[in-house]
Amino acid sequence: MSDHKPTGITRWLFTTNHKDIGTLYLWFAFIMFLVGGAMAMVIRAELMEPGMQVVDPLFFNSMTTMHGLIMVFGAVMPAMVGFANWMVPMMIGAPDMALPRMNNWSFWILPFAGTMLVSTLFMEGGGPAFGWTFYAPLSTTFAPASTDFFIFAVHMLGFSSIMGAINIIATILNMRAPGMTLMKMPLFVWTWLITAFLLIAVMPVLAGAVTMMLTDRNFGTSFFDAAGGGDPVLFQHVFWFFGHPEVYIMILPAFGIVSQIIPTFARKQLFGYASMVYATAAIAFLSFIVWAHHMFTVGMPVAGELYFTYATVMIAVPTAVKVFNWTATMWKGSMTFETPMLWAVAFVFLFTIGGFTGLMMGVAPADFQYHDSYFIVAHFHYVLVTGAVFAIIAGIYYWIPKWTGNMYDERLGKIHFWWSTISVNVLFFPQHFLGLAGMPRRIPDYAVQFAEFNFMSSIGGFAFGAAQLLFLYIVIKCIRGGDKATDTVWENPEGLEWTIPSPAPYHTFETAPKVK
């Protein structure tokens, strides 16, 4: 069959092709990453010096809120789904995703949901300003009118995620080439299978939470109102029952990407494949039973504090299995440090720092000291920026030659890496000290003793932001041309995606390959 592509705008609007849809997801994520990043720049500009200078406090609050929501739901999650769309069918030898039309719908809900979310900023009373966790009663009794639009945006994002996840599960379980048994699947496929399960399990719970918000706000229910026998803390329980698996939804595919990259550039097989699979499943299981560690200071019974502490620190075990696996894969490997490998190695180091600070806060009595301080901000930015985002960038450098047929500019890629890695640490590392010294999160102004570290952090923030514009340039340059990539791209990488030409033809594996 000829490799014809539809042309014009309808190619993208009506597409049922997993590669086109993957590209759409990745570009949407990139645009949202820049929008959310611009909001982060506003935040860092205001916090550069003590006192109020750039924006008013309410707008500052809606910046922190929208920055978080856009980065979580608009940037990281869609980017991961974009990778899944591009890579899962190619990695398992499938002709496309299992349900291609629904795949299109999963994507094309996102721009509408994103529009609805961002439109709240221009409404009377301003956008949501209650933090990305939208705790009641801030998000119910005391929220601006635009909150109802925010609620429906979350509903739409949920529809999109659930349909996307169903598609990924059906693809992985039903579309594998003959011989591709479950325990032969690339680790990226495994991590996405488990992530998709998490998505289907918790996105509906989030939908339930925002629905209760909606009826409390508009129809007089009392879910989060103690006067009617409800409880604002109930919101936190429902939210974090979604929220904790959600953080693994963002990081498990990142684990998968890094587990593809490190063996390639260490020129060794992944040290312990089976243990990686089991560790991923164990993390996913534990993610359902630790949610209240986000709420240690809310006034739980001591038994609850103890249980959630123990359950939480247990996650360190499967996570350590992963980190040691990556390290052992590199051990005595003949390593080279092309750009994807640099990002992957930085991921291992910097994500682990975020993991350790997570362990610190997983212990209830310690958490009491730095709850809702800049320490938590530093923690989750280490796991989400130097964790998830670094893995996304690593994955793009790793697979973009396969997608475009061109090599990216290696010199610029290395500059991008070092510039980002140094600046991101200048940005977030001082925030640990700020948090330990007592600076609360989500404030536009602060006491003067926090001035120096905030100044450093802002300088790092601007530099990190600028580095991503270089990334945009590198990506566009790679799409437009560059050295031709070979079919394998790298030196003997493992996986079916390297057995097809570069750039990958519009349709691949219409006849299933045989996997030994």
């Binding site: 609805m116 429906f152 739409m156 579309m175 009826t215 229910t221 009617g228 026998g229 409880d231």
Partner: protein, 292 residues
Amino acid sequence: MSSKAGSYYLPEPSHWPIVGSIGLFTMLFGFAMALPGTSDGQMGNMTMMYVGLAIIIYMLFGWFGQVIGESEAGTYNAQVDVSFRMGMVWFIFSEVMFFSAFFGALFYARQLSVPWLAGEGNNAMTNELLWEGFKNVWPTNGPANVGGEFKLVGAWGIPFYNTVILLTSGLTVTWAHWGLKKGNRQQLILGLFLTVALGALFVALQAYEYGHAYSDLNLKLTSGIYGSTFFMLTGFHGLHVTIGAIMLLVMLLRSMKGHFSAKNHFAFEAAAWYWHFVDVVWLGLFIFVYWL
């Protein structure tokens, strides 16, 4: 793109998803614009919401119509069938999780937050200082007596009849399935008709019960945490019964048109699975909302 005969069917580019997105956006944006934003306000103009709903219904007809056409033309092989089955199973799982959020809220209120408001555990001062005299009883509309005194819907009246109705409809849909599998179209159509009729009867009785609760019992959505959990759980269930009955009605009409064969009838099975799912949710409701 055309697919080779016998291979996994990959559809041509389709405009239905983007139509669905436009409909979804229009409906929800219109709904949000109409919402009062406070619990004692009035709903605004809902036109935009209905326009969006109409677009979605148009999309559902078009999209499902295309899929039915492809299915009847024999385009789908057994592997495509498995994808559809997985899609439906995981969709139902997501619905289970949606309901579990509301069941979770119910259990949390009954077992934890209401006792805490009444001073249980280390919450003596909460009760003493904020809600003096509030006792841990269920049902409750909270220490502020939100919505005023109300009476309950008894479990062994309409709710019990509804339990029998739904369980019976689970039997009739299975009987219809047996008919389909042995090629007895008469039995299929009669079974489906009975199932849809029982579903409609259920919804009608629920509607009657809601009217009774609002006008005679002063039990409303605004009756504190009891009213909130009662109406949200039974209301979402009722909505799902309605959706399930519509699905089965479509299956009935398709059966009458001669669709489905003993081997190829996934759409019927998907609707039947969905029906069993709403049945099971109802059992949970009957036990935890009405009975205990």
